[in-house]
């Protein structure tokens, strides 16, 4: 498991560096700490959400609700902080609990009903998106001083960039999730369920409990993603994060996790997120691409990347 996973991660890393190198050859300032720092900050919420998605996918499931959780969390924060005057820290705690509980509920439904995760979380996605509209239709600004502080907080890097608060949280969560996956029984049961759910159960894994935890974790990371997103924009918007689940899934899979479950890891996912980020950055900097050319280019780069990754993997057989 380790060896094969590492191999894929290496190839992914190599392709990422190549991509970055190509980008830097045209736009040298890309290699500044400022742009690289931005790359982390801009993609922090996606990164955090993709971590939860990775855990879910390794366990053989999928979670389509994350984009809606992000939006719902944001809207709830807006309502609580701006409209109700709740302290942001308390509001954070509330939304984390709600996000986690929602995930747990989905996990319980998946286990108890034996229904496919795809559909359960699709219903979850509709439900929370709808719930956003019930809370507010309009976007809500959040102007609490703590927000301004957190949004601009960070460790300065040489060269004018900074490692922002959001980027720090993302890295922290990646490390924590990595440890959780590789160094705890829960992690082993996640891989186990993805490898062969029935066998895992016969080997003493409590599938129900694990499933609830897995989706709870995804709900939790989605809620953190929601908090980071609301810090990022200092506002709440019911239409935020539409289609985000696909980005998270794409990042996870580009990072070497198999959709069929059982294999993969969060470090690869970080690379996947960065790859999507660099592709987007390149297209923005290029700037002359019409929007449709940009879409085609995104698809082409995605394909190029998957191809390179596969080619690299085929070679070591």
């Amino acid at each position: 498991m380790n060896f094969a996973a590492n191999r894929t991660v290496f190839i992914t890393l190599a392709v990422l560096l190549l991509l970055l190198g190509y980008c830097a050859a045209q736009f040298p300032f890309v290699l500044s700490t400022r742009v690289l720092g931005n790359l982390l900050t801009d993609n922090a919420f996606l990164g955090v959400i993709a971590v939860g998605m990775t855990v879910v996918i390794i366990s053989g499931g999928i979670d389509l609700s994350v984009g809606s959780v992000l939006a719902f969390v944001g809207v709830l924060l807006g309502v609580l902080i701006t409209q109700q005057g709740v302290d942001p820290l308390l509001a954070f705690a509330i939304v984390l609990v709600i996000g986690t509980a929602f995930g747990a509920l989905q996990g319980a439904a998946i286990h108890l009903l034996g229904a496919p995760a795809f559909i359960v979380t699709l219903a979850g996605m509709f439900l929370l998106r709808g719930a956003c509209f019930l809370l507010t239709e309009d976007s809500i600004p959040i102007n609490h001083p703590l927000y301004t502080q957190l949004a601009s907080a960070g460790v300065p890097l040489p060269g004018g960039g900074q490692l922002s608060f959001a980027a720090g949280i993302m890295l922290l969560i990646i490390v924590a999730a990595g440890v959780m996956l590789r160094r705890t029984e829960f992690g082993a049961s996640v891989y186990g369920l993805g490898g062969d759910a029935r066998a895992a159960e016969l080997m003493g894994v409590r599938a129900g409990r694990a499933t609830v935890r897995i989706y709870a974790f995804s709900g939790f990371t989605a809620a953190i993603g929601g908090i980071l997103y609301s810090l990022y924009t200092s506002s709440a918007y019911p239409l935020a994060g539409i289609g985000l689940e696909l980005d998270a899934i794409a990042a996870t899979i580009i990072g070497g996790t198999l959709l069929t479950g059982g294999y993969g890891g969060v470090f690869g996912t970080l690379l996947g997120v960065l790859i999507l980020g660099v592709i987007q950055l390149y297209i923005t900097l290029e700037g002359t691409l019409s929007s449709w050319v940009a879409k085609i280019a995104t698809g082409a780069l995605l394909l190029l990347f998957i191809g390179a990754q596969r080619f690299g993997r085929a070679k070591d057989h």
């Binding site: 736009f27 300032f29 890309v30 500044s32 400022r34 742009v35 931005n38 801009d42 919420f45 956003c132 509209f133 239709e137 309009d138 976007s139 809500i140 600004p141 102007n143 301004t148 949004a151 601009s152 997103y229 990022y232 924009t233 200092s234 506002s235 709440a236 918007y237 019911p238 239409l239 935020a240 539409i242 289609g243 980020g277 987007q280 950055l281 297209i283 923005t284 900097l285 290029e286 700037g287 002359t288 691409l289 019409s290 929007s291 449709w292 940009a294 879409k295």
Partner: protein
């Protein structure tokens, strides 16, 4: 004509929302056209309707060191942080198409927008005036739930209707700004309300109205005659419909927002003088009488 030599070599980033509608593409095309005319190197980023992508794009523009940024904000709130970064980098930002909510209006140089509430109100006022005192049940086709034009255009229309008692919205549903969804919504509205009871249809954009017109025709109604229509945008197809007597009114939203914005940036770059905070594009109502000419005028822009 050309704006003198001052613009030569100016690089401007345009954080566009996306390419979700024909009007939006027209706006992008208009921006490209006027940039070419003014000799501006315009970098366009398509955010696919996502705020985070727009923020990323603005940051990339800042890193690139552009001379100015055009922002068509997908949502009103949440721009302070990135605008501060632009300010710190001394890059002026001009809002196009929509305004933002911010604590500090100095974060952007100026805004070129229409007044979307006014658009809705204009549509509503035309309708109340046209029906006079007879009872008029109206079907409203909203834009995407939660999007700012949908909210504003509903608000303006409601304001106009509030002044009369005889014109009432009996059904208001979202057609997602698209023809096909609007057609579906209209079909069920006709079934639920009864086709002959509908007096008028108000759509938050022309595309939805075109879908609704088809639904009405297929249900044996005569849009433009039995049922009044009013919508917003002024895309070529709605003028064609008016020409054919199937639509009654549209409120124009000009797609040429970038032109004035680029002029402001050029002027600002030249002498450093800040332009007025808001350049409002005209909101104009068009009726069938001018439809033929308007159609000819527009069909190439789109």
């Amino acid at each position: 004509g050309k704006q003198g030599g001052g613009n030569g070599g100016m690089t401007v980033g345009f954080a566009q929302i996306g390419s979700e509608s024909g009007w939006r593409t027209a706006e992008t095309n208009a921006a490209k056209a006027s940039a070419k005319e003014k000799g501006v190197d315009l970098r366009i980023s398509d955010a696919q309707q996502r705020q985070e992508n727009q923020i990323k794009a603005i940051r990339a523009f800042i890193a690139q060191g552009v001379d100015g940024i055009l922002l068509a904000p997908v949502v009103a709130t949440g721009w302070d942080q990135v605008l501060k970064e632009a300010q710190a980098a001394k890059i002026p930002v001009v809002l196009v198409d929509r305004l933002i909510e911010t604590s500090d209006k100095n974060l952007y140089l100026s805004a070129v927008t229409s007044d979307q509430v006014l658009e809705g109100r204009t549509a509503g006022e035309w309708l109340t005036k046209t029906v006079g005192s007879r009872d008029c049940p109206v079907i409203e086709l909203q834009g995407t739930v939660g999007s700012s034009p949908a909210i504003a255009r509903k608000k303006g229309f409601d304001e106009a209707l509030a002044k009369t008692a005889n014109v009432k919205i009996v059904r208001s549903q979202s057609g997602d700004f698209t023809r096909s969804k609007a057609k579906e919504v209209m079909e069920s509205a006709i079934k639920a309300v009864g086709g002959n009871k509908i007096c008028a249809v108000y759509a938050h954009n022309d595309d939805m109205m075109i879908g609704a017109i088809q639904a009405m025709k297929e249900a044996g109604l005569r849009p433009g005659k039995d049922v009044l229509t009013v919508s917003i945008d002024g895309v070529p197809d709605i003028f064609k419909a008016m020409q054919d007597g199937e639509a009654n009114a549209t409120v124009e939203l000009t797609p040429d927002m970038a032109g004035p914005a680029l002029d402001m940036l050029a002027a600002y770059k030249k002498d450093g003088k800040a332009p007025p905070k808001w350049h409002q594009t005209p909101t104009k109502l068009y009726l069938p009488d001018t439809a033929a000419a308007e159609y000819q005028r527009r069909k190439d822009l789109y």
